[in-house]
């Protein structure tokens, strides 16, 4: 931020980016494929305009400005050898020599028709046996900025364990860069994985994309419950369900999930334990259902809908429900308070009627706690599925443990609801104590209105946050 003056004095070009990542980038890509007796590496180098020009000095050996076939061949052979020197493949710690197979050189036009350079070389390394830890390190063009991506795959019957890189690429082998200006391009120069022949590992690897996305983001213990390979005894299943419930409970304590709303509603509406339990039940049901539905959507329509993109919308929807409840409550309660205030003005003094236990009870008549709005509130609390729960379900489906996965979700949702209900109950009883305090009627009368205001405010905040996410995603 400082010293920009002198920065500007130094001639700094105001240069835009022709190549998506800037025109002095060298972009690299390695796709590792493991077969029974060999590893192939498809290595692609995509040079932007300026490095291409520098490289052309080497390609166009006779300097006549055109690329003769023999120049092209000579360069490609040299490049394949030089690049291999800094492409370090080790199996169980020993370096494996790379032999160049198919090699192509292309010069696709870049900015203003200026050439760019694309090398696509497939290297082959012989494997002693399809086992062990494989590491690939790319030490080429260490100084050059650019997109650096690595992926790893295996042939049928083989699987990769603990892979540090994904199976599918993002750039179509450097043909299309999904550029988000605010995020940095991938800078992956190393890949590590183990080769396994067991079928179980193979199954783990075919978890759908959504599952992998979630597990990477949340690295949730819940996911491990499903993914663990150990055979499942009934006791283990029970333990898993308990853990799932505990995780759900823990999850309910994280921000969101309408704890404030639940509390404010029950306090304001003079809810009873019955109401609180009902609310818990609705939350459990909605959350379970929400996860199921979103899971199905992900599985069947994952090519069209990205589940992560649905979250803000669901968030907005649940926020709007909350806001609606808050607003309608506020209107009803304000009307009630208003009526009562008139009453006051007529009498011009606080009424000491013995038939009223304490001023506020008739501000909101008993029974004003509508089951319908309670249901809506519960729905809004459970509508937003927890991503980890979604991951669990997807994982369970992918692993063929559908029933188990569904059961885990129910347990998770129940745990979540238990905490919400608990909070609700605690507030109900706390309000009982609160109500016995010798409170001035005028103050107590506004508690329901204030709680409606809190509900509205929370709803508004949820909607606003969700909308801002929708706006930017």
């Amino acid at each position: 931020m400082r010293r920009l003056l002198a920065l500007a004095l130094l001639v700094t070009p105001a240069l835009g980016a022709a190549h998506p990542l800037g025109n002095f980038t060298v972009n690299r890509y390695a796709a590792v494929h493991v077969a029974a007796d060999a590893i192939t590496i498809r290595y692609v180098v995509d040079m932007a305009e300026i490095p291409t020009f520098q490289e052309m000095r080497l390609v166009d050996a006779n300097g006549d400005g055109t690329l003769a076939d023999e120049e092209r061949e000579a360069y490609l052979g040299r490049a394949a050898r030089t690049l291999a020197e800094s492409l370090v493949l080790t199996v169980d710690g020993t370096r494996r020599p790379l032999t160049a197979g198919v090699q192509t050189l292309e010069m696709p036009p870049g900015a203003g028709g200026l050439p760019t350079l694309r090398l696509d070389i497939t290297y082959i390394a012989v494997l002693p046996a399809a086992r062990g830890t494989v590491e690939l390190r790319d030490e080429n063009f260490a100084d050059r900025p650019g997109w650096q991506e690595m992926i790893a795959n295996a042939s049928d019957g083989l699987a990769l364990g603990d892979a540090t890189v994904p199976r599918t690429d993002r750039s179509q082998a450097l043909r299309a860069y999904p550029i988000d200006q605010l995020q940095s391009p991938p800078q992956v120069r190393e890949a590590r994985f183990t080769i396994q022949t067991s079928a179980s590992a193979d199954r783990a690897a075919v978890a759908p994309a959504g599952a992998r996305a979630g597990s990477m983001r949340f690295s949730d213990r819940l996911t491990e419950l499903v993914a663990t390979d150990a055979p499942r005894s009934p006791r283990l299943v029970l333990a898993s369900l308990l853990v799932a419930a505990a995780l759900g409970a823990f999850h309910a304590l994280t921000p969101g999930h309408g704890k404030t709303v639940v509390g404010a509603y029950l306090v304001g509406a003079r809810g009873t334990a019955r109401h609180a339990l009902f609310l818990g039940l609705v939350v459990t049901a909605t959350h379970t259902l929400g996860v199921y539905v979103l899971g199905l959507v992900t599985l069947t329509a994952s090519h069209y809908i990205v589940p992560e993109r649905l979250f803000p919308w669901l968030s907005a929807l649940s926020g709007m429900i909350v806001l609606g409840i808050g607003a309608s409550l506020m209107i009803a309660r304000l009307a009630a308070v208003g009526e009562h205030t008139h009453h006051h003005l007529d009498h011009d003094h606080p009424h000491p009627h013995p038939d009223h236990d304490h001023g506020h009870s008739h501000a909101v008549p008993e029974g004003a706690i509508g089951w319908r709005s309670l249901l809506a509130l519960g729905v809004s609390g459970g509508l937003l599925p927890c991503p980890s729960a979604l991951v669990v379900m997807l994982g369970a489906i992918a692993l063929g443990r559908i029933a188990f996965g569904l059961a885990l979700i129910v347990a998770f949702s129940a745990g979540l609801a238990a905490v919400l209900t608990g909070i609700g109950l605690a507030l109900v009883y706390a309000r009982g104590i609160f109500a016995r305090l010798p409170l001035d009627g005028r103050f107590a009368r506004y508690v329901p209105v204030a709680s409606a205001a809190v509900i509205s405010a929370v709803g508004l905040a949820i909607v606003a946050t969700a909308l801002s996410q929708i706006g930017v995603s």
Binding site: M1, R2, R3, L4, L5, A6, L7, A8, L9, L10, V11, T12, P13, A14, L15, G16, A17, L21, G22, N23, F24, E49, I50, F53, Q54, R57, G110, A111, G112, G113, A142, D143, P145, P166, T168, R170, A176, P178, D180, Q181, L182, Q183, S184, P186, Q187, V188, R189, E190, A209, A213, M216, R217, S302, V306, E308, T465, S468, Q469, G471, V472
Partner: protein
Amino acid sequence: MIPATPTGKPGRALAAMLALAGLLPALAHAAPSAADRAMADAQAVVQRGPTAGALVDLAAAFMRKARETGDPGYYGRAAAALDRAVAIAPGHYGALRARAWVLLGKHEFAAALRAARTARAIEPHDWWNYGNLADACVELGRYDDAVRATTRMMALRPGLPVYTRVAALRALMNDRRGAIEALELALATADPRDPEERAWILTYLGHEHWALGELSRARARYEEALRTFPDYHLALPGLARVHAAEGDTAEALHLYERALALAPMPALAGALGDLYAATGDPQRATATYAFAMYMGRVAEATGTTYGRELALFLADHDRRLPDALRLARQEAGRRGDIYTDDALAWAYYKNGRLADAMRTVHRALRLGTEEALLHYHAGMIAAAAGHDAWAARHLARALALNPHFDLRQAPLARSTLARVVSERLAREEQR
């Protein structure tokens, strides 16, 4: 924007996690810099929940990265972050304030001045705004306004940001010793946890000593900068220039090549080409000049320009002279500082438009800046226009300030001075 595919998510999520853990893969030879860390932190925050504040932080991180690497692509990314911030929170002050900074980076000086003034109107006591204001004014040639803004900034918050601006203004106004003093003061207050910042100050100290012809002091400062922040793209060419002046060609070539590989710019390629030419390698010289021209073509293909830098290169090397003039005039339409006037005057001179060159070079000298290249250009123009005394004075001044000021131009300064003086003597004799 291309919608992210489900498969695209893990990578991004993983990157964010790695960034969170501070594990973002480092360059082979260097740990993540302060700018890298700032960038990764801000990206992680934005990924969790893009707030206007987080996006402004991200823009600031991109700006630091731009300076650290010399890669102007980061200016565009900083601007995109600010656009996003304003979309979330219209009228966000932090975004407005940073906008001026980003516009300066993008060389949109008039717009930067407007943004800085708007921000100042909102927060007249924020020292930040005066820094941007001063920078924009310097680039637009409004030096009195720049001094006023810097004075105000000094009153609001004495410290490194204002010391470096004071140094730049003093250097412009013929007080290089004062500039060095201010930079030393800045160095003493620099944050030891930000090596790039220290290296930046050291590099500019090197530049000031170089301008005074103090080669060994300049070298010491550049070397210190490179020890502080290895491979610093601003310090490498500075040190290369000193080595070339001292006759250590091998080291100079090595450093220029390194700088050009890290942050390719036409001026660098020009200097390297000159060095190849001076050491009797015309083939490499030609290839390197061609590279400089090519960078210009790439810039124009992408709708931008190296402006002044490329204009000077073309004029210096007598290539595509009409283009040199066109680029210099284009630049003069965007900024009004003395260095732009100087480049324009030089381009006029090379295109044989002596009257325009004379008029413009006077503007370039209006602050009395003591810099060899300015005097050299003035001297050559005066010599061509037949103003012997003027020519001799400026050429002599250029060579006195720094006899090595430019590998290619310094010998021309010497021979022209000799010719002007001998012609003058011959005329006196005749009388």
